[in-house]
Symmetry: C2
Subunit: 406 residues, 2 copies
């Protein structure tokens, strides 16, 4: 039995669906074990709900529900059904994020669907005990519509969570790889070796935005650059819209996947990929001799999370500035830059500040033509600003020529 | 002759295209007149550019250029050509904002095109002297493609600008009203009596987003509410997408225009309009008896600027909270709320905070499904955060039923 009591003034925050109870917000812990499901009360004895408990963790409790309900298979199935009904409404693809942790009221759980297969990530030790119920509920949810569930809990996590880094089949048969279609592109998913659960579904909205802006700004026929390209999602989108692309990523296996995907999608002629560290590759680029012979009409910068904590913020901002400063001279007139940041520690204002510094160094004005966040199957909860992590800025440099040269 | 000298440490900001020089950033003013074009220098004597000067104004200089060029008809024509070339690329409509002041390097000047006519707003007294050159450059720009230019400089402005509130024909023939098509809707523009220049073109992107989200979330067939509806742009968009709409606005002439537009667009059956103050109208609404018989699938809240200065921020935030709190109980399951704020004083974080308070009062979780800013023909300059003013949040309340009722 685990019973925790929340400081009086913090209870309204929990009632208003903020999902984390920090260690210093608790006035009392009665626990016969180090982890499990906690009953959460407020100081006057009122019941606040239930959550995942981990002794010693800075986020000691992660709320699961504000009701007095059992955290069992039917609980998971109800949450899964609610999530699936939203996906069915909004997402026409067979690949989507089904469960997005806190935003779904299921902290510590990520579930992505790739056609016949599910990939799950369990990010909280108290949830590991619930694995059988989760598997069972997922199977019930799809009623025979899936063939296997794979676990990819081998991500980096903070030591306090003491997670076992599982990776393997949870149920059914899971092949080495499968192909799924997302918005007209065939993606090769390598369950065991891909990053995260295999595909950055959170960037689906950005890839759709890329399509739209290539058409709006008539960028077809121009070269495009895809920095930190992973397996080439942006490259293939831009190539399908008539651009010639160059993708750069330091991961050789991911570039190999990208090249296989180019073949599958019939885009080998329009897409090129280079295994290199983006920062050092950029150091060797000049406008005089770009690899594709011309400046780029669209440059996508989609780095991995550069900022894992508040402390790393200044460092991350500097890297973003450096990236933008390096690509600004490579941009074609009227071309677009898409800058992405996937850290919730970095707000819009700070991203803008990073670009402002780069533009000052280059002496260029920058117009922001659009902005977007993570795809709608990665919902963000207004009550938890931390659930909004991915931000993308689409920018252009106004042509100075006509005014400035005369 | 007007020569101003900028404090040493402020010069880089100007070089980096921030457009305003505040009174306390100047170390010297040599001026034989109170307003006009100033030559701007930095303390070491280096030339910084030219700008609109107004003695005594807090923004004493508004930069026009970083070059030593004449501010004459060819100057305006070059700027207009650059702006038009962008509009031609990005906007398929015959109604658009051609000149968006600071973002275009033309502080104090707004020019909108409505088919055969232009509507101009001159917001700086030093620009009034340049009116003949501006008119002449606009005529040259369209080479006979326009029939008249109307001035609507009768907006509210701070007393320090001592502007004459002009309204009238600047050139050619301008009728009482005209009809223009924007994204499939016929808009009636009343040049002399409409708000601003006649139509809120900055919300074109939001109306397009409304169309997209009604389809994505399958809201067709449901009732919709259009608060602060003006002449009904959102109402007609939602009605065309199959919703039944109710628009509320306190301006009787604008509602009259909306009703005429409903006829022109053949949408009288699907759209209703009420002349009333939105705040008092909302006080009388209850979920039990909504005017359209059912809760709303989409509620648009597009108030006029509630915040005209930093001081009014807390007040504006409270009003946003009140609006969202009033509509949350009127929302259908899986319905969407679109909350707009057109004040640059209010950042994303503060808008979100306003909604968070409303949701706390109602005990509802809120998921943000999308967000957008002003249309791309109202570009915002990264170097001047003040040029980003319109922000829209699209939100839903996750259906609690399945989890909570069992």
């Amino acid at each position: 039995m685990i019973i925790v009591t929340v400081r009086r003034q913090k209870a309204p925050k929990i009632r208003n669906r903020y999902g984390w109870v920090f260690a210093d917000e608790l006035v009392d812990i009665q626990a016969d074990r180090d982890l499990g499901i906690a009953n959460v009360f407020e100081e006057n004895g009122g019941f606040l709900g239930k959550g995942l408990f981990l002794k010693g963790a800075s986020k000691t409790v992660r709320m699961l529900t504000l009701r007095d309900e059992e955290i069992d298979e039917p609980f998971f199935l109800r949450r899964f059904r609610r999530a699936l009904s939203v996906r069915t409404r909004i997402n026409p693809n067979v690949a989507y994020r089904l469960i997005n942790a806190e935003s779904e009221g299921l902290p510590g759980l990520i579930v992505d669907r790739y056609g016949d297969y599910l990939v799950a990530q369990i990010r909280h030790p108290a949830l590991e005990e619930k694995k059988p119920q989760i598997i069972s509920a997922l199977r019930a949810l799809y009623e025979g519509g899936i063939r296997g569930i794979f676990e990819r809990s081998d991500f980096e996590s903070t030591p306090e969570y003491r997670l076992n880094r599982h990776s393997g089949v949870l149920w059914g048969e899971v092949p080495e790889e499968t192909t799924v279609w997302v918005d007209g592109i065939a993606y090769l998913i390598r369950f065991k070796t891909g990053q995260k659960t295999g595909l950055f579904l959170d960037q689906q909205a950005s890839r759709a935005k890329a399509r739209q802006l290539i058409r709006t700004y008539h960028l077809e026929g121009q070269p495009a650059l895809d920095l930190f390209c992973y397996t080439g999602g942006f490259s293939f989108t831009m190539a399908q819209e008539g651009m010639t692309t160059l993708g750069v990523d330091k991961s050789a296996p991911d570039i190999e996947t990208a090249q296989r995907m180019a073949e599958i999608n019939g885009l080998t002629g329009q897409t090129g990929f280079i295994v290199d560290d983006v920062f050092s590759w950029l150091l060797n680029q000049t406008m005089e001799k770009p690899p594709l012979g011309k400046p780029y009409g669209l440059i996508v910068i989609d780095p991995p999370s550069l900022i894992k904590s508040q402390q790393e913020r200044p460092y991350g901002k500097r890297l973003l500035t450096e990236l933008v400063r390096s690509v600004l001279p490579l941009l074609a007139p009227n071309g677009l830059i898409c800058l992405c940041s996937c850290s919730y520690h970095l707000g819009w204002e700070e991203m803008i500040e990073s670009v402002r510094r780069a533009s000052a160094d280059c002496g260029k004005a920058v117009i922001v033509v659009d902005q977007n966040v993570q795809s709608p199957d990665h919902p963000w909860l207004l009550q938890m600003p931390e659930t909004l992590y991915l931000k993308c800025l689409w920018m252009t440099v106004p042509v100075e020529g006509e005014t400035e040269r005369r």
